[in-house]
Amino acid sequence: MAVRVQAAPFDLGAEVTAFAEGRTDLGAVVTFTGLVRADGGATAMEIEHYPGMTERAIAAIADEAARRWSLGDVLVIHRHGRMAPGEAIMMVATAARHRADAFAAAEFLMDYLKSRAPFWKKELGPDGAAWVAAKDADESALERWSGGT
C-alpha cells in the first residue's frame, strides 16, 4: 500500500504500469483519476491540506478498504497547491484477484477521500476566488458503506 501527498504532477500512465507490476496473483486493477474542471470559467484550482493529518487520514481509509475487501495492493496519490483545468488532482488504484473487490474498494476510497481526508479546494475564476463548498451528497455517500460488507 502506498500513499503519496505531493504538489508535483504525476504520470498517470507510469503509475498504473508500475502498480502491481510483476504480481501474478492479481487479476484486476481498477483506477480512478480526478481532474480539475473549468466550471464557470475557472482558471485554476488551489488545494490546501493539513500536512501530517492528511497522510494519516488517507492511510486509515486505505487500511479500512483492505480490511473490508480482499486487495493485493492500493495506491493513493493526492496533489495539493495550484493546478490548471485539465490537470489531474489525484488518483486511486486498487488491485485484487477479482474485479468486484477492486471496483468496490476504489469507490469506497473515493467516497471517503472526498469528505474525510483534510483537503480544501479553492476555485479561481473571472469573479475571484471561492472555497468549494462540501456537498450533502458527499456526506450521504458514506452511508451506503456503514452497513458493512
Binding site: M90, K114, S115, P118, W120
Partner: protein
C-alpha cells in the same frame, strides 16, 4: 496548559493566521472555542456557526465536546473537499 491551534481554508483566512500557540484553561474543544471567541471579533466571526466547522484533535477528527487533557494540537476547518 498550552497547545498548538491550527486553522485551515476560510477559517484560516478569517482569523488571519495558520497556527498559533494558545494558553488555555479549557477542558474541552468547546471551552477552547469560547475562550478564542472572547478574545477578538475575528475569532467570533470565524466561529459564529460551529455547525459549519469540523475539528481535529491531535490529527484525528473529533467532536467539539472532546476533552483537551494531554492534547498537543487542535485544528479547526470547514468540511473537507478532497478527491
Amino acid at each position: 496548559m498550552s497547545l498548538d491551534v491550527l486553522y485551515f481554508a476560510w477559517v484560516r483566512e478569517r482569523i488571519g493566521l495558520p497556527k498559533e500557540r494558545v494558553e488555555t484553561g479549557a477542558d474541552t474543544v468547546s471551552g477552547l472555542v469560547d475562550e478564542l471567541v472572547a478574545r477578538e471579533e475575528r475569532y467570533a466571526a470565524a466561529f459564529a456557526d460551529r455547525s459549519a466547522l469540523r475539528v481535529a484533535v491531535d490529527q484525528e477528527l473529533a467532536d467539539f465536546d472532546a476533552p483537551l487533557t494531554g492534547v498537543r494540537e487542535v485544528a479547526f476547518f470547514p468540511p473537507m473537499t478532497g478527491g
